[in-house]
Amino acid sequence: MSGPDPLVGVVLVSHSAAVAASVAELAEGLAGGGPTAPVAPAGGLPDGGLGTSEELIVRAAESVDRGAGIAVLVDLGSAVLTVKALLAEGDELPPGTRLLDAPFVEGAVAAVVSASAGADLDAVEAAATEAYDYRKV
């Protein structure tokens, strides 16, 4: 009775709720026709302001956890530091949660596309990190 292997989940953390939600929409849109990996934005503060919310990050991570690991992409500053602090100091995030060192938009697209194709967390990380190597000029 086992279905297909579970997919890696993707969490997108930005200072801005609009940025996180839009990048999630973009990445899902570019992931193609079939079913996509679970993606959840964690943008801004719970009151809608700019910032990083531990509560929204934890909730997003729990919502995309299918047991195959969770790839977290972040924009900058407190988003990076909050996720790193949560991973280093506590057990608030589900097991198998990993912060990816990748550009936010390009990395999110690479992560969602590869995760949707069934890549495991290592392969999703490799795809997202590789986005740094694509020079535009």
Binding site: S78, L81, A85, L86
Partner: protein, 198 residues
């Protein structure tokens, strides 16, 4: 000896100092940051004292670990994970002891500061909270007052520094001539030790 009550007094005194200096912290942060440092820390330490009143952890380590956890949850800016990691790692390093010496606190705070350095990837001289905390840890072996003096001097010494971390680093040379807000609030935290010991 320093017990859980001492650590609670330390946190309460820090919250009061942050309240008192919030406008100054925000002024410093509007020069080279995003003008939210005073309000963010005020929100964080107010939440810390409220939680400590409610939960009253029994050991010095547990007080600081809970305070750090609460800062990560409530601040919403980079100072949340940075101060949160500082206090949480310091608290964990103190272990389960019911009372600790000043020397043990100095050692644990050293571990907390090292965790902050690792988290932020910063070093001494980068115009960050480390420039107040590192000399404070050194001096804490001597006395609380010496640590507070060292932290104040360290914060003042950030004025001519070029910011190499965080938003201020985008300003390059324009960050020179301003005192770092994080180093300034770190000096408040260390200064509050003197009040807790009084």
């Amino acid at each position: 000896m320093l017990d859980a009550a001492f650590m609670r007094r330390w946190m309460t005194a820090t919250a009061a100092a942050v309240d008192r200096e919030a406008a100054r912290l925000t002024d410093l942060d509007s020069a080279i940051g995003d003008a939210d440092h005073g309000a963010n820390l005020q929100r964080g330490f107010t939440a810390v004292t409220a939680l400590l009143d409610k939960e009253a952890p029994a050991t010095p380590g547990a007080v600081l670990a809970l305070a750090g956890r609460q800062l990560i949850s409530t601040v919403g800016g980079a100072s949340g994970p940075l101060y949160g990691t500082l206090l949480r790692r310091t608290g964990k390093s103190l272990g389960e002891a019911a009372e600790v010496t000043r020397e043990q606190l100095a050692e644990a705070l050293g571990a907390g500061v090292a965790a902050v350095a690792q988290l932020g990837g910063a070093a001494a001289g980068d115009k960050t909270m480390l420039d107040a905390l590192l000399p404070a840890v050194e001096a804490l072996g001597e006395s609380f007052a010496a640590a507070a003096e060292a932290a104040d001097a360290g914060a003042l010494a950030t004025v001519p520094m070029l910011a190499r971390k965080g938003r201020a680093s985008y300003l390059g040379e324009r960050s020179v001539g301003h005192q770092d807000p994080g180093a300034t609030s770190s000096a408040l935290l260390i200064g509050a030790l003197v009040e807790a010991a009084a």
